[in-house]
């Protein structure tokens, strides 16, 4: 009995690249009912077949290990040629070679399936990828967006740049417009009504924008318009523009935000000008009564500064611009310093002090954080070694690990090697992580924490109670210390209601976790925390974060 796949009438051609004759034959036998199958016994033949048949080939099924030209090389050459980017590739791998899979995906493979094949899963996955590819290719060919009759994104960029090119002296503005919480509106009013709304809005906007030249739909509810440059302030222009939806959408509650890039820079692309306009727009999202924002010098400076910081980061490590400060943790029971947290400061020779709140998110975005973290860990190890060598009582120092650090599978071993390099007892290094990290990949995080524990490190959970807290993470992660976020402390002391704090400490006790209260500033707070049974206190009441030499003096005086 031959089972045809339902709903697919047109037979697509697929190319099977596999060196083993038998595996290739099996695959061809399995596929030939539903596809035209071309075969290649290695990557070179595969590339030649691709050249010959071009985009008639709807998909490539690729083996990894082949003599002459393996799957990796095939992917590399395919990408270099650039002509077959639209042909998706499914890589066939053995179930135990995750590294191969990742490498293939990085080289541009679309997906992978593991051997031995499950033919039904495979055919369905193939068809859905082929259809996805075909429909996105179709979309790219559409010049006008069907719903709004504005240009589609690519055509808007293209046509707007032609306007600029043909008018070398013209000055232009870009106005981007976004319907706030459109997704929620879709949920609330239904797709049909909301589409109608967008259609009408896209028809209305060109009538109210002065000097209007052309418009495009950049995203679901984001439109962009190229207009002649307006001397008048756009805030004024748009102040009195009120969109009236059609009779059936009268009841809709909506808010429209505009972001403007004025007198756009010819040196940058239209797409970049749109980015600037939407950057301005993002600043006023959720802000009631502020419908218009114009991209200005301040935003530009901000953008440049971010760019600069990323650029300066690498040399900053070499020039030792990142300095480690240590904030002591006071042990309430022994009334002595019981540890410290390492915090990073960036002092740039030209820019001066740069706040971690500014650079950490940037480094988390571009991945530099892993390098910075490692640098900090090493500096902390060096400091601990120094304390020990100089006979100053060494207290455990906690260092922060970021989400991206956990992506390295040998994180525990890396830190252990570092500690060993400085001949440190592992219990002197505490690892702080935030709860939000655990949300991403709880199993991986739990496993890494276990390995850190096996290596003798102490784990502290940072920011407990700051908004991400969940009891699940307390259950799934093996922890030693709970750090209570300063917001709970502040809330308790501001309202004189210590109940949340009390339960947090009780919870920790019940789970045999030590507690550290962060951001403690007053004697009253200390007294209350002592009564509640909190173990350690970190905060300005005892000490601000101190640079190395001052920290050494501080503990020399308090631990002796």
């Amino acid at each position: 009995m031959k089972r045809k796949m339902e709903g697919y009438t047109e037979r697509r051609t697929v190319l099977v690249v596999e060196d083993n004759d038998m595996n290739r034959e099996i695959l061809c036998d399995l596929l030939e009912d539903d596809f035209n199958v071309l075969q290649a016994e290695n990557g070179v033949v595969g590339l030649l077949t691709l050249e010959e048949h071009g985009s008639d080939i709807a998909m490539v099924l690729l083996d990894v290990y082949m003599p002459l030209c393996d799957g990796f090389t095939f992917l590399e050459r395919k990408r270099e040629s650039g002509r077959f980017d639209s042909v998706p590739v499914i890589v066939m791998t053995a179930s135990d070679s995750v590294d191969d899979e990742i490498r293939c995906l990085k080289l541009g493979a679309t997906d992978f399936i593991t051997k031995p094949y499950n033919i039904e899963v495979m055919k369905n996955r193939m068809m859905s990828l082929i259809r996805l590819q075909e429909s996105s290719a179709m979309l790219n060919r559409l010049e006008l967006d069907e719903l709004t009759r504005l240009y589609s994104k690519e055509f808007f960029f293209h046509n707007a740049s032609i306007v600029l090119q043909s008018n070398p002296d013209g000055r232009y503005d870009i106005v981007c417009c976004d319907v706030e919480n459109f997704r929620t509106m879709n949920e609330r009013y239904g797709r049909l009504q909301c589409d109608r709304f967008l259609h009408d809005l896209a028809g209305w906007l060109p009538q109210v924008l002065p000097g209007m030249i052309l418009g495009g739909r950049l995203g679901a509810d984001v439109f962009a318009f190229l207009t002649e440059h307006q001397e008048q302030d756009w805030t004024e222009i748009l102040k009195n523009a009120h969109f009236q939806p059609g009779p059936e959408q009268q009841a809709m509650k909506f808010s429209i935000k505009y972001g403007v890039a004025q007198d756009i820079d010819r040196e940058i692309s239209i797409s970049n000008s749109c980015d600037r306009a939407t950057l301005a727009l993002r600043q006023i999202k959720g802000r009631f009564n502020t419908p218009v924002a114009v991209y200005d010098e301040e935003m530009r400076r901000m953008q440049l500064r971010e760019h600069q910081l990323v650029e300066f980061a690498e040399p900053a490590i070499e020039n030792r611009e990142f300095q480690i400060y240590y904030q002591p943790k006071h042990n309430l029971e022994s009334d002595a310093t019981g540890g410290a947290e390492a915090l990073v400061r960036w002092i740039h020779p030209q820019l001066g002090f740069i706040s971690p709140g500014m650079f950490i998110p940037l480094f988390e975005k571009n991945g530099f954080i892993t390098k910075l973290d490692f640098y900090i860990w090493e500096e902390v190890c060096r400091e601990l070694r120094k304390l020990l060598d100089e006979g100053i009582p060494a207290v455990p120092i906690s260092v922060n690990v970021s989400r991206m650090d956990f992506e390295s599978v040998d994180l525990a071993e890396k830190i252990a090697t570092l500690a060993d390099k400085y001949n440190l007892d592992h219990s002197l290094l505490h690892i702080e992580l935030t709860e939000s990290i655990a949300g991403d990949n709880p199993e991986l995080i739990a496993k890494t924490l276990e390995r850190l524990h096996e290596n003798g490190f102490i784990i502290e959970l940072d920011d407990f109670g700051s908004g991400y807290s969940s009891l699940t993470s307390l259950n799934t992660l093996t922890l030693d210390v709970l750090k209570l976020d300063m917001s709970i402390i502040r809330h308790a002391s501001a309202t004189s209601d210590y109940s949340i704090l009390r339960y947090a400490v009780l919870l920790a006790e019940g789970m045999r976790l030590k507690t550290v209260a962060e951001g403690v500033e007053t004697a009253d707070q200390v007294a209350a925390l002592k009564v509640l049974g909190c173990d350690y206190i970190q905060g300005y009441y005892y000490s601000k974060p101190l640079p190395g030499p001052e920290f050494e003096k501080y503990i020399a005086a308090r631990c002796a």
């Binding site: 595996n23 034959e25 053995a94 031995p116 094949y117």
Partner: protein
């Protein structure tokens, strides 16, 4: 000999084979095709000459072919060898252990081939 009997005889999993090759006719075809597959030959030759790349390629191919035919134990033994010789992997077996794997693999392979030959003769 029926196909389930053949699998019984060579210690393979008929269920696994059936999942990949949905019809008995296909299983029969490819099981016999296995007699001419060169992966094992290549592996044993590479082992003879101490060619590690060849051992990886041969065992990796054999592992894939056997997995497709539901010869899971053979596939597993081939997989152990391919992991040992995968470029970049650290060696985890002693020379004696490696030899033992090859001996086990050879014995099972020979038994499988003999079974298939008998099956083929009756077709």
């Amino acid at each position: 000999m029926t196909i389930p009997e053949l699998y019984e005889r060579i210690g393979g999993s008929y269920e696994s084979a059936k999942k990949i090759l949905p019809m008995d006719k296909m299983i029969a075809k490819f099981v016999q095709r296995f007699l001419t597959d060169k992966s094992a030959e290549k592996l044993f030759a590479a082992h003879e000459s101490g060619d590690e790349t060849g051992m990886f390629e041969g065992s990796h191919a054999l592992k894939g072919v056997c997995a497709n035919l539901g010869m899971n134990e053979l596939s597993r033994l081939a997989s152990e060898i391919s992991e040992e010789y995968r470029p970049g992997n650290a060696k985890t077996m002693s020379p004696e252990q490696v030899e033992q794997r090859f001996a086990d693999l050879k014995a099972l392979y020979d038994k499988t081939i003999a079974g298939i030959q008998e099956f083929a003769a009756q077709q």
